[in-house]
């Protein structure tokens, strides 16, 4: 696929590996009818750095472990977030099967963190694209927003304290909110696809947000329950620069 040119040599290698894995997986999966489908063509849709594609769901389709309706179901698309905002899904790759059907690999904003799965192409609306990502560095306690490979914003942050850490991994911005009634969240907030590892009973399921604070003196530091806190001026600036679907890398 020409798309892979932008992904570079390693991207091609990874895709070939993925293709081989998918071919084996798909052929090993018992099909409901007809011969087993194999992957005829695989395309990388996002590199999660400079090119990331995402989509709203078109239906509440089941999410499978492999691009095959006979594979295990690991989740289901949903239209709304827990804050009743539009749910969206970052797409990683597309696979055209020998049967002619196209499947899309997506990141799942669900607990446990880091799940990916496949849905039919028809389960998603058209693809949107973003060209940057947000790096949350828990060591240096800074968040840096990159666009087309260049840092365009950086600010100190507060992250989770021991016991309620901010989870590492690859996530994305689900929603942009204007916060009300609670100064602890500052003026605006970003909802992410990350879940706090230990606070599953938290209202909303323990979603990790990026938000302002009424305790700026604790930033930089490790004062939170898993959320990423920023000084209010910084979160306002980030909120204006970032768009939904932007990948978040927490290291």
């Amino acid at each position: 696929m020409r798309m892979q040119l932008a992904a570079g040599a390693r991207g091609r290698g990874a895709l070939f590996c993925l293709l081989a894995t998918l071919t084996m997986a798909a052929t090993a999966t018992p099909a409901h009818a007809g011969p087993p489908a194999t992957v005829a063509m695989l395309a990388r849709l996002s590199n999660l750095r400079t090119v990331t594609r995402w989509a709203y769901p078109n239906s509440e389709a089941l999410v499978h472990t492999y691009p095959s309706p006979g594979s295990h179901v690991i989740g289901q698309l949903r239209f709304l977030t827990v804050d009743s905002q539009a749910e969206l899904y970052v797409t990683l790759a597309s696979a055209r099967m020998s049967s002619g059907q196209t499947w899309i690999k997506i990141e799942l904003p669900a607990r446990p963190n880091g799940q990916t799965g496949w849905v039919p192409r028809s389960a998603l609306e058209s693809l949107h694209m973003v060209n940057g990502y947000l790096l949350v560095d828990r060591t240096t306690l800074r968040a840096t927003l990159f666009r087309n490979g260049r840092a365009i914003f950086s600010a100190p942050i507060g992250v989770g304290k021991p016991g309620t850490i901010t989870p590492p991994g690859s996530f994305y911005v689900l929603e942009k909110l204007v916060t009300l009634n609670d100064p602890a969240y500052g003026p605006v907030a970003l909802g992410t696809s990350a879940y706090a590892p230990t606070l599953s009973e938290w209202p909303g399921g323990g979603i990790v947000g990026i938000h302002g604070t009424d305790e700026p003196q604790l930033i930089p530091g490790r004062p939170s329950h898993g959320c990423v806190r920023m000084r209010n001026a910084d979160i306002m600036r980030l909120w204006s620069l970032i768009s939904v679907g932007t990948p978040i890398e927490i290291t």
Partner: protein
């Protein structure tokens, strides 16, 4: 700390204090000897005048007078003793005492003359008549001796030779001499001589001398050191693109996707006890397998060792990297020490924007009026039924594409619709949908089934690559002969798709379909994501006689061709009273009829997502 003193006549080197101890100082705090060497002196070598000459020029000084006075006093004492005859000493003892007094007086006289000569030389015009006040500062610690030289000539090259002599007190060890030399330009210079003295008591003697650039002088400092175990090390991370001929550097480097970065992690023992390093004591999560380090696992005092690792640049952007290293002192000499290295950065710029035209092509189908959804799977139909096709094109390259040469042998003539508006180029990342229909005919029934594949060409802008032609997946329809002259009608279908139905009876002929100028229902376009404010749904007006919109089954409004604006039939909807969640907006479309054919009707549906306000109290963990 530097002691600034006024220029003195000086010359004896100040003595350093003994080992420091007391409040505010740690047990192994370094003993510090600070000395200001102030030389009112100096001098162009050619102006170093002999004492007699200087004396002639400068006249008597107070020092000379004092020396003369001392000599006179000694002589007077000697004479007095001889004259009185009252001395209790023997004549031999008296002579010895007199000689000693004379030697002492002579020494003092020489010292006074030497000082006077120096002072006179300094006060003499030196080229530009300036007076140079050379200052030196020496700091002793168990780890290093730090030198500071100030007020040297700013012009020319200053050269200084140093020597440090250190020996253990009371343990009979042989002194160790550490020679050194510094060359610098400019008036000030600071340098360090590593000492790294093992735990113990030491005497230390540090001297420096200079002779050149118009100056000549020296100082000699003595001191004592009490050293306890002071473990310490430095760690530095260096990098280089594999295969490059340059040396390793801590500066940012630039590579390309797929390049390998070689890293060196250099640790140096800067303390005064050996340190142990294990393989698990080097942490570098962004690097591959780490190898190297001290051969025996122990790094001697003053020694260095290098770890190596590599990383392949996989993404565009900055790749920062640092290492964390822990060293373990001998038992009893303190806890392990951990240091984090400097951060090195490898930059991967965006690759050249090579044009890469590419698009994905997918064909879907459904039997009109069955209420099903579009699929790429095999369908079954009977002669007379209509198969609706959707051909979804997505630009997955990096240049816009103008789509052309659409070829689908099973699309009935005149039924093709959709695609980029006005034939415009399909932007990168965008998708578009073509639609067409095929009425299952007797030939299809006789064959039992037919397959269908779309071929499409995407043309990039001039000079941005070659046209790309793709074939879609192949869809299959099994066809059974019609049992009777059935009536084909449709109900609305769920999803953002629609069905075409006919109000005519019997098997519609192909010619009947062709009678419509735009027999295929136009797509209904609505908002994606949340609706919170007024939003629009629209469809192309071409061929449409009227359209009635329904929201969750409730009729909203009917538009006719007369309501078309800029080729679109558009309805503005206020979602204020909608509940949060998904809603179905359906357009019942009646196409214009032409010729002898009757009007056709069909439906298109889009999903509307009503969200709550984005101004709320989030359910985050905080």
């Amino acid at each position: 700390m530097r002691h600034n003193r006024e220029p003195q006549t000086l010359v004896p080197a100040p003595r350093c204090p003994g080992p420091l101890s007391g409040p505010g100082r740690t047990r192994h705090a370094w003993v510090r000897c600070t000395v200001l060497v102030t030389l009112l002196v100096l001098l162009l070598a050619g102006l170093m005048a002999p004492a007699g000459q200087a004396q002639g020029a400068g006249g008597g000084s107070s020092e000379e007078q004092a020396a003369a006075s001392a000599t006179a006093q000694a002589t007077a004492e000697q004479g007095s003793a001889e004259a009185s005859g009252e001395a209790r000493l023997s004549a031999r003892e008296e002579r010895a005492a007199a000689k000693q007094a004379q030697r002492q007086a002579k020494r003092e006289q020489q010292e006074a003359r030497r000082a006077a000569r120096s002072r006179r030389s300094a006060s003499r015009p030196v080229q530009n008549s300036s007076r140079l006040r050379i200052q030196g500062d020496v700091h002793f610690s168990c780890i290093a001796v730090t030198w500071q030289f100030m007020n040297f000539p700013a012009e020319g090259t200053n050269k200084i030779q140093t020597s440090i002599r250190i020996y253990g007190e009371g343990n009979g060890t042989q002194p160790t001499t550490i020679p050194g030399s510094f060359t610098f330009e400019g008036s000030s210079y600071e340098a360090t001589t590593p000492l790294q003295a093992p735990p113990g008591e030491y005497k230390i003697d540090a001297w420096a001398k200079w002779n050149g650039n118009g100056l000549k002088g020296s100082f000699d400092i003595l001191g004592r050191l009490t050293c306890s175990a002071t473990p310490g090390f430095t760690v530095e991370k260096l990098q280089r693109i594999a295969g490059d001929s340059g040396s390793f550097t801590s500066a940012p480097i630039t590579g390309e996707l797929g390049d390998t970065v070689d890293y060196e992690i250099v640790v140096k023992n800067t303390g005064n006890v050996p340190l142990s390093f294990g393989s698990e004591d080097v942490v570098d999560r962004n690097c591959g397998t780490i190898s190297g380090g001290p051969v025996s696992g122990t790094l001697a005092v003053g020694a260095s060792a290098t770890y190596t690792c590599t990383h392949v640049l996989e993404e565009v952007g900055s790749y920062p990297n640092k290492a964390e290293v822990s060293g373990i002192p001998p038992t009893g000499d303190g806890p392990p020490i951990t240091h984090i290295s400097n951060t090195v950065v490898a930059e991967v710029p965006l690759p050249p924007a090579l044009p890469a035209p590419a698009f994905a092509l997918e064909k879907l189908q459904q039997i009109a009026g069955t209420g099903g959804s579009y699929t790429s799977s095999q369908l079954s139909g009977v002669v007379g039924q209509t198969v609706d096709y959707e051909i979804v094109v997505e630009n997955i390259g990096n240049v816009p594409l103008t789509l052309s040469s659409f070829s689908d042998p099973q699309c009935d003539e005149g039924t093709l619709a959709g695609g980029p508006e006005g034939g415009a180029a399909l932007p990168v990342g965008a998708s578009t949908t073509y639609t067409c229909t095929h009425v299952l005919n007797a030939a299809d029934g006789s064959a039992g089934s037919y397959t269908n594949t779309v071929t499409l060409t995407g043309d990039p802008p001039g000079g941005e690559g070659s046209p790309v032609t793709n074939n879609s997946n192949t869809v299959v329809v099994s066809v059974s002969p019609s049992a009777n002259g059935n009536t084909l009608s449709s109900t609305s279908s769920a999803g953002a798709t629609g069905v075409l139905s006919s109000t005519s009876t019997g098997s519609p002929s192909k010619s009947g379909v062709l009678a419509f100028t735009s027999a295929t229902l136009p797509l209904l376009k609505g908002p994606q994501g949340c609706v919170r404010h007024d939003f629009r749904v629209s469809l192309k007006a071409a061929g449409v006689a009227s359209v009635t919109f329904y929201l969750d089954g409730h009729k909203l409004r009917t538009l006719t061709a007369k309501n078309a604006h800029k080729g679109l039939l558009t309805l503005l909807i206020d979602p204020d009273k909608l509940k949060v969640g998904t809603h179905k907006l359906t357009a019942k479309i009646t196409m214009k009829h032409t010729g002898s054919t009757k009007a056709k009707q069909g439906t298109r549906t889009v999903r509307i997502l009503r969200c709550s306000s984005a101004a709320l109290t989030p359910k985050f963990t905080g």
